[in-house]
């Protein structure tokens, strides 16, 4: 469970993450229109087993008080961090008292194996293991999200969805601000010049905490980009 206002770093046992085969299939493009064949299905199974040997799930999380919210800006107390996003500020953080800044990762080993497979011409196996990695890091973030929700619920608070730089109108370049707000041992996760995380299978972001249930709503409800593949409703 996440404690308020105290930086938390934790490494999870690989098997505490539940990698769902149906989600891996979804990342590979199988939607409601089709299921993997026996050959692909057994490859997904074998790559999920491989992933459990490779992933090193961990997270870093720190709670900050929301100091001030203007239409475009969210400033956090005691960190000099100011995030700029009209949609997230106005819809969510104007009603939040706290914010959890987080980083989750599954470490570099899975993607090193993907590169090895790709370089050796095993594109199919590599693409499947990469999709398994997407699902695994997503599940680490879900695990952390659930933990924050549980802590908030104990004091009667609600939590928002999670937001990462690049979501809505939040510029991906603000990864730099987010990383400086985390200010700690980030399990070797680093930002490239263009603000991509290395290892790539990492998720950073912010979750709002407050006593107004409208913070749980998705901003996608008010967005006109109805064909967005990342739409959350």
């Amino acid at each position: 469970m996440i404690e308020h206002c105290k930086p938390m770093v934790r490494t999870l046992a690989p098997n505490s993450i539940n990698i769902e085969k149906s989600e891996v299939a979804r990342y590979l493009g199988y939607g409601k229109d089709g299921n993997p064949s026996a050959q692909i299905s057994s490859l997904i199974d074998s790559q999920i087993s491989e992933a459990y040997r490779l992933i090193e799930p961990s997270y870093f999380c720190v709670m900050k008080e929301v100091e001030n919210v203007e239409a475009f800006r969210i400033s956090l107390r005691g960190s000099n961090s100011v995030f700029s996003s009209n949609i997230i500020a106005r819809r969510i953080f104007s009603k939040c008292s706290k914010a959890a800044i987080f980083l989750t990762t599954i470490g570099p080993r899975l993607e090193e194996r993907v590169s090895q497979l790709m370089d050796g011409g095993e594109i199919l196996k590599g693409a499947i293991l990469d999709a398994v990695g997407n699902e695994a890091v997503e599940k680490v973030a879900c695990w952390l999200e659930a933990s924050i929700k549980e802590t908030a619920a104990a004091s009667g608070a609600d939590v928002s969805l999670r937001y990462s730089p690049g979501y809505c109108d939040w510029d991906i370049k603000e990864q730099k601000v987010l990383f400086s707000a985390l200010d700690g041992d980030l399990h070797g996760v680093e930002l490239t010049e263009d603000c991509l995380m290395m290892p790539r299978k990492s998720i950073s972001g912010i979750i709002g905490i407050g006593f107004d249930s409208s913070i749980t709503l998705s901003p996608c409800l008010f967005c006109n980009k109805t064909d967005c593949p990342s739409r959350r409703l």
Binding site: L28, G34, G121, G126, A127
Partner: protein
């Protein structure tokens, strides 16, 4: 097995995405049966020309895979299984191609642009192009314009494929095209772009010669533009 049966079986195994006898394939009961590897070797042994093996076995098989993918009957992994089976058959055929006077259909340089580390889409396009008979030089990801200019100058490819996943990095495609222009190389190579954030409008805006929505579309574009 007659020559016709051999080629027909090869085509079927490409559609099934079976590299060799150890692959299961999409339908049951195929394990242990010869796959693309064994059937290509048998075809060479039987004296079938590499041109016929490629055209009537591999390309014909991949055309069906493309149709199934378009019809959403096949998904990315199914297509990759077939492309890998084709790639393996091409490897076996390679030493025989020069002897038979079969040359590559063209040279394609592919790269994920500077700042972007996503390479799965690019790898899929490379695999499909190789399977379709093109020579592919894959530079990898995070490739700066100056490196691309250098390779275009040295290798003189027919096509350059640029990939980017993000809106922040796709701008680098335009910069790469500008660098080619400044180096006086723009007219020597056709530039195709692709990736999740890219659109036809964006491709037009930066002066690319084509935009591929997926791997098969990229191969079709290359085929159209080389004519």
């Amino acid at each position: 097995m007659t020559n016709e049966e051999n080629i027909q079986l090869l085509k079927e195994n490409i559609i099934q995405g079976r590299r060799d006898e150890n692959d299961e394939g999409l339908e049951e009961g195929m394990l242990g049966q010869p796959g693309a590897k064994e059937l290509t070797e048998a075809a060479i042994q039987a004296g079938i020309t590499p041109g016929t093996i490629i055209l009537e076995g591999l390309t014909a098989g991949m055309n069906v895979v493309g149709e199934k993918y378009e019809a959403k009957e096949y998904f990315i992994p199914d297509m990759l299984a077939s492309a890998e089976a084709t790639g393996l058959a091409m490897e076996i055929l390679e030493p025989h191609l020069a002897k038979a006077g079969v040359s590559s259909k063209g040279k394609v340089v592919v790269a994920t642009v500077k700042g972007d580390l996503h390479d799965i889409g690019k790898n899929i396009v490379s695999l499909l192009l190789k399977g379709a008979g093109y020579e592919v030089i894959d530079l990898g990801n995070d490739i700066p314009p100056e490196r691309i200019v250098e390779v275009v100058r040295q290798e003189n490819p027919d096509f350059l494929g640029l990939s980017a996943l993000l809106t922040t990095t796709m701008k680098m495609m335009g910069e790469t095209i500008n660098s080619l222009r400044e180096a006086g190389l723009r007219d020597r190579v056709k530039v195709l772009v692709g990736g999740a954030a890219v659109s036809q409008d964006f491709a037009d805006e930066i002066g690319a010669d084509g935009y591929g929505t997926d791997g098969f579309h990229a191969v079709r574009l290359v085929e159209e533009l080389r004519e």
